[in-house]
Symmetry: D2
């Protein structure tokens, strides 16, 4: 099968996100790194692209140059990844979709709800794929969890409880470090700090596994380090379309929690929990029965859990291969055999609507507000 | 040292709570079971009391008979435990306090806030001990946690996150079982279901470890099994006097969680977590450092953690000995050397105020309300 | 039910073992501490006994005095616990058995195999109970494990792997500390160090759960701290009567292991593991199936696991209550309703035979030797 | 940096090992899959190679054809991976080394000790790299462990205890399954079953982390399923050059253990443990101190642990990326900047010597035998 051509915008040398995408895109051999505009410093980006093996004429200085260079090539990129600062996601994604490229956009997809709605409309109109990198949803055991819910293995879902709470911004003496400070400053981060940064992964996960959407929510935000204008800790209660009760805690001052992303789902006939630090197990309890460990790679898993795993049971697969699973799903979709599960532009839009609703609720003393984007109500 | 005379009201044959109290009171040799009114069926209670070794004339048929029989004996009970149905705690506790007995009352201490205030006043006036059985707070590593907070080992506490969520009432086919149903029926359980049953243990624990009090709260209640009038799942956000942010989740439909009581505390310079299912460890992380396991019995623990442990490091001590620690503290207090840490009538009162505030908040769509009893504002 | 009279030899003030026995004997109300010779310093022992509530005439100065004082009393001790230094176990146990007392002896029951055989013969001849305090075997979930093996739940047992390895003697700078040094000096400890101290608990556990006996063994001993004459680390391979393969590792220099006692049992149709630091769970896997967590207190446990537990599921019970379970079984046996499972003098004898066989094997470069006492071959 | 050309022998469609190598070689962009002889069925292998993107003229029918085709190409393979059945490793590895190729050979490198010695000599003579795929040694936290030992962080190593015990061959009803049976049949598997298959990974790991070599050993082998001629369970005690005591247990009938590879290392001033199912943590205890969790990605790790990790702390990296780390080290070595740590032909030879010594010892009732290959004594 011919490899697909892949281009990347952002993710330059020294970034965390660049290597994760490159590893994810290349690991399974579906994509070739064909083009890139990797750095906001044009020369640095061109040089780095060439060091990564991109041909000189496709190692671009910025995204506009890349768009111009790629749009009319016969071997143009099949997929473009947007991994630039948050505020630029919208215009770049929009431009490449309109030029007929498939796009994988880093989260958050946009800054405003209106931008998100526009992306959804453009994707629908152009028929292009616009995916958002909610990569945790591509772990095999998360896919197993979703398949179990869909199959009715735990009955109607009553309750979902999730947290994404770490402590890496808990050191007040480090709070003025520019790498940390921008996240809690509305001038650079927008309306929300920790909830927009990590909380939306958890919120997406709740929707993804429960196969349902968040309808309304009530939020409590706190800035536990007083110099911060935006929240570093948030609790969001929510209700889903089918009545499921949701509880989401996110924090960046939970010292001792390293990654701290986990989810518990409780239905009428069973419950389970999954944690991103032990991603290869799903801990499941049928009502009235014993707790069981479901292992990635065991026999009898649902198809989505099986096909997205590469090595045998108890050989752990980690975060980079969850990203790679997103790229596997993208390759399938581009080749015309789309899989259920790829996080869509609609998912990206719903996140932004939830962020804005949570901010408004927190300001209104926890008032319950509609969490849905207007176009999807 | 002479043993103290102990009497018990309730906790008859077949109850869960009776054996836990007897084991707790007798384990360390501080008390002798001298009197009891153990069952609401007078004959059954008298017979059972005698089988437990109580002298026939002190195996009473009901608490009034016991009060009359004990109040003028020279060898009267030094301590009376009240382990009767919730609605009767108030009158029995009141009567024995007024007759000059020390009392250990099961939680909840009362049903209304007004009753709670009255108990606090009576205890103050009589100079008698009125303790409430928040026994989890007597685990050695919980005492260590409190001592660490007091010593400033984690700096000012920014955030406390606790849950007491199990799944033992998650089977809808069992919801009409009388043993379960009464808990969710206002006629028998009062204003609150799961929050009043388990949540207040977690709320007390937050106050106990943080050495602070809950000031205001906002609640979200749900009855995930529709036939229930009272909540089987609740989320309570709160703020403490010194600004600490609190988050408390309690559920009885979290299938797969067996006991499910845990607490995480995050301060300026460190964080820790403790769980009732592994009660002999405290998992501690100093800011910027590695996570460490603090073990019950290790050298260098604070005094309260050391004195309330009986066997060497890594020899686990469990729930019955946490109850026993409450009785050790009671024995010390009765003998005139009171220890800090025994949960007081004030703690029992604060719980009732928080329950009523949470119920009102949940009804008011999560409005933030004062959680303090009027007399302690 | 009338309480039984209990006497204790050894276990004086400041010992680890005394409190564990007193808590164990008194916790469930079966015994009263009626007599004692608690210290090798007669005056100290008498005074301490009286402080513990023993009547002055039964607070003895040494065991001979206690034997003389108790043997003809109408209310004489129903049970005597021997918790003195190892080398004295034999003569005291022998004397009390011959005088018609039931005895609980601390492990090791004797120093030589011949002494062990004599105790077995005396117990048989007198009809008295002589139990040995292999208290770990009395944890509810260990009893569950044994019951599962007996019921055939894991088929024929192929393999048992156990370790009892801690690091508390791993500090060479502390090796001359008298509290540590005597354990590795043949003049004080006899023929074996760590294997006789901890290894025999693991060996007994293997026999107990597998319901089988060790037949032959091969040992490798090491003194990893060179100044030690006796082993501080040992590996013993063995075979049981029905062909089960056994592997036992014991160490006192395994720094970081706190208690370190665990056992894994593998049969034809399943396997399980248990660890003394999480004693309330048994982790079970049926062949071809998922790993399950069996919880103390869950419904459907075998009778021995159920009756030796006091509080509900997920309320942990720890080491002191395992000791208490030994005393429960003793009370039942003394009252004429013996339970299966109480570790007998034969178990104590088998341990000594295994210790001597292991020492001889280690000296003979791991030669396979008969592990059975001559009288039980 | 130009990509290196990589060729693969074996690892055809449907094999476990092929995808792991391809993922490992390609993940970080160091290699291009340039040539291959992937299947013992020539046509099948050629077709599969082309589907994987190999040019038709380099998709070979067998290894001889590949050797002939590659040896004189200007763009010939920089590295050849040998992932064929065990019995063929020797001749293929030998032929490619002699033709001047660098080789990565699957374990076991050879079947006999003599063959192993010949490979070592050829590698030395030709100056080519001959590495063996002991991929577990390339996990970042294993490299951290080795670096800590070398830096003296735990003092002289007294004791190493390792196991590689799973239960995947524990079902006797599946024992005649050809996929399982060949492993326990001398005609197909050689002199050893489980020890040669999994045990040597653990033995290599012990040497690797302790930075020392196994000198002599004593073995106990068992065939717990009676139809098996070769062992399915083995215990090997050993001593290393600097006196370290070693204990290694390996089993394939340990039902419930999924992967079951772990190692504990105990030195004079500390100990640690690592397990392949939670590969991103190293659990470390300094003597007299608390147990600490060392996390992959934390600040302050030794260089080898840092450079072989791709994503941030608490983002797990799994087995395929451990294989990828071997390929990273190979790329560095081929490019002239060799790293310490790549498992060498000498390591492969030592394993074979240990296998033969263990088999001989088990047959001689556990006699202690020299474990070293003659050429390295």
């Amino acid at each position: 099968m011919a490899k697909l051509n892949w281009g990347m915008i952002g993710g330059g040398e020294g970034s965390q996100i660049g290597p994760a995408h490159r590893l994810g895109a290349l690991a399974d051999g579906h994509f070739t790194l064909a083009a890139g505009a990797l750095d906001h410093r044009a020369d640095v980006g061109r040089a780095y692209g060439q060091r990564l093996g991109i041909a000189p004429d496709r190692a671009y200085g910025d995204w506009q140059e890349m768009l111009a260079g790629e749009r009319n090539r016969p071997d143009r990129c099949d997929l473009v990844t947007v991994a630039t600062p948050n505020a630029t996601h919208f215009e770049i994604t929009k431009a490449f979709l309109e030029a007929g490229f498939h796009v994988l956009c880093e989260k958050p997809m946009t800054v405003t709800v209106e931008e998100g709605e526009e992306i959804v409309r453009i994707a629908a109109r152009t028929g292009r794929i616009c995916a958002v990198n909610y990569c945790y949803s591509a772990y095999p055991m998360v896919r197993q969890a979703r398949a179990m819910v869909r199959a009715g293995d735990i009955g109607r879902v009553r309750l979902v409880v999730t947290s994404f709470s770490h402590g890496h911004h808990g050191d007040a003496t480090d709070a003025d470090n520019p790498r940390v400070r921008w996240r809690y400053d509305p001038a650079t981060a927008g309306v929300s700090g920790q909830f927009a940064d990590c909380g939306i992964h958890a919120l997406h996960m709740a929707s993804f596994i429960c196969d349902d959407e968040v309808e309304r929510l009530s939020a409590d935000f706190a800035s536990t380090i007083p110099s911060r204008q935006l929240e570093d800790d948030a609790m969001v209660n929510f209700r889903m379309t089918r009545g499921t009760v949701g509880r989401l805690w996110t924090s960046s001052v939970a010292i001792g929690r390293q990654h701290g992303f986990d989810i518990q789902v409780f239905g009428e006939t069973g419950g389970f929990r999954w944690a991103s630090e032990q991603p290869n197990q799903l801990v499941y309890t049928p009502v009235g029965g014993r707790t069981q460990i479901i292992e990635k790679g065991e026999s009898g898993l649902y198809d989505d859990a099986r096909r997205l795993s590469r090595v045998a049971i108890a050989h752990p697969e980690g975060f980079p291969l969850a990203v790679a699973n997103i790229y596997c799903d993208l390759a399938d979709a581009i080749r015309g055999t789309p899989r259920d599960g790829l996080p869509s532009a609609e998912a990206g839009l719903r996140s932004m609507a939830a962020v804005h609703a949570a901010v408004a609720s927190a300001r209104a003393q926890g008032a319950w507000l509609d969490a849905r984007p207007p176009m999807l109500r």
